[in-house]
């Protein structure tokens, strides 16, 4: 499949890239790893007039520990994130994205900007209470995960903004697991569950992949478990699908997704507790 024609530029700096994006108007798009955008273009579901390739923006690659947290450059690939075990659940979940080839190309910034709630990093960002840093013509702003994801493929990013950095708090003392259920190896999650437990259930966080238009925190499960112990997991996981309204799709009906959410929540919490 041949994508539609487009103009192409590969600027040397973030400022130049932002300028090109603004000048290119509403049909201009950033290109990071291209592993969401190129398939869409091949299917003719996207037809940008201009692609602003970020590949020369080497400042946006890499991971740094700063102020009790991590700064991950937007262009850092899933493969690189998966190897940075100090990132905890983010590294663990990044290693479960698709396959090695896709992880070698896809980037954390692209994954979040794309806003697909079937992708794995959005739920991780939400559970870890992280944020993204976006730059646009009017400067820089930090957007919390709770504000960032708005609906199916909709984020708080403006058309002329670029994610430059992803911020994750260092989750020292937290144990974690990311459970992902797929129909075939290398697929997107039918449902994914990110579970994090601090100490002896002093605090608990659970977030879902693909249970709605955005990643979702399972507050009912979290409340039922906080201050409890491992013995309470089975019961608490029953509340996992409460308040969710997942869309059915080719692979799973809404009911089946709710069932998966309960089962995977239990498994993820058991694994996190045992970690």
């Amino acid at each position: 499949m041949i994508p539609p024609e487009f103009e192409y530029t590969a600027p040397e700096s973030v400022d130049e890239a932002l300028q090109a994006l603004t000048q290119g108007g509403e049909d201009a798009k950033l290109l990071a790893g291209g592993h969401s955008l190129i398939p869409l273009m091949k299917m003719r579901l996207a037809a940008p007039s201009l692609l602003v390739d970020m590949r020369k923006l080497s400042d946006l690659r890499g991971i740094e520990r700063a102020n009790g947290g991590f700064r991950i450059g937007a262009l850092t690939t899933h493969a690189q994130v998966s190897q940075a075990s100090e990132l905890g659940v983010a590294a663990h979940a990044a290693g479960k994205i698709a396959d090695q080839q896709v992880r070698n190309r896809g980037t954390i910034g692209g994954s979040l900007a794309h806003g697909d709630s079937a992708s794995d990093m959005p739920a991780v960002l939400l559970a870890a209470e992280g944020s993204v840093v976006a730059r646009g013509p009017n400067g820089e702003r930090e957007i919390a995960a709770t504000e960032f994801f708005q609906d199916f493929f909709e984020t708080a990013l403006a058309d002329d903004e670029m994610i430059t950095e992803v911020r994750l708090p260092a989750m020292d003392g937290w144990k974690f697991a990311y459970e992902k259920f797929t129909r075939r190896a290398e697929d997107w999650a039918m449902v994914g569950v990110c579970a994090m437990v601090r100490g002896d259930f002093e605090d608990v966080r659970v977030a879902f992949t693909n249970m709605g238009g955005t990643p979702i925190r399972a507050s009912a499960v979290e409340e039922a478990l906080r201050g409890q112990g491992r013995g309470a997991i089975e019961q608490a996981a029953q509340a996992a699908a409460e308040g969710t309204d997942p869309p059915g799709d080719l692979n799973a009906t809404a009911d089946y997704k709710r069932h998966l959410a309960r089962v995977l929540t239990r498994r993820a919490l058991e694994k996190a507790a045992a970690a």
């Binding site: 487009f6 592993h35 080839q101």
Partner: protein, 181 residues
């Protein structure tokens, strides 16, 4: 037609320069412009891995990379794996272990396996199976492919597994280098 862009790509150690349309996919550049037809197109949807090549030393699905994205980079295809008449240890192991039947998936399998062995020189069988999950084979049932990769991992020529390291992987910095540093 949109304007063309000049690309300079080192393919199997030889620098190639062409004017290309930005929408030209790397796999089509390799096959149609350079005549390197060892890289196959199976699905064209990033699933099957038949189009796997190395870009700056890492396996990628070249049906989902624009040739312009490889400008300034090093590309290794299956044609770049043998050393003259001497097969690469992975090629040798696929041949000896019947790791192929129709052979359609084989170039991609070998390039993916080379990436795997670079990352994990001593994989378990299960790690090989998981490591190759981005590559589909419709013939072999995978059994002999896994056997071949295990054998190549432990071959005496093991040190030569994997294509030559990239000379200067442009804009590809190590994790940990630091954001904005």
């Amino acid at each position: 037609m949109s304007s063309t862009v000049g690309v300079r790509i080192s393919v199997n150690g030889e620098v190639r320069e062409h004017e290309v349309e930005p929408r030209l996919l790397l796999v089509h550049y390799l096959r149609d412009r350079l005549g390197l037809t060892g890289t196959h197109v199976g699905c064209d949807t990033t699933n099957c891995g038949a189009c796997t090549v190395h870009l700056n030393g890492e396996a990628v699905k070249s049906c989902t990379v624009f040739a312009v994205q490889a400008d300034g980079a090093e590309v290794t295809t299956i044609e770049g794996m043998a050393d003259g008449a001497e097969l690469h240890p992975l090629q040798e192991a696929f041949w000896k272990n019947h790791g192929l039947q129709c052979g359609y998936c084989t170039p991609g399998m070998i390039m993916a396996a080379a990436d795997l062995l670079q990352r994990n020189p001593d994989p378990s069988e299960s790690e090989v199976r998981h490591g190759l999950e981005g590559n589909l084979c419709r013939c072999t049932g995978y059994q002999n492919i896994v056997r071949a990769v295990m054998e190549a991992a432990h071959s005496p020529q093991r040190t030569t597994v994997g294509p030559p390291p990239p000379e200067k992987p442009e804009a590809r910095e190590e994790v940990g280098k630091g954001v904005g540093a």
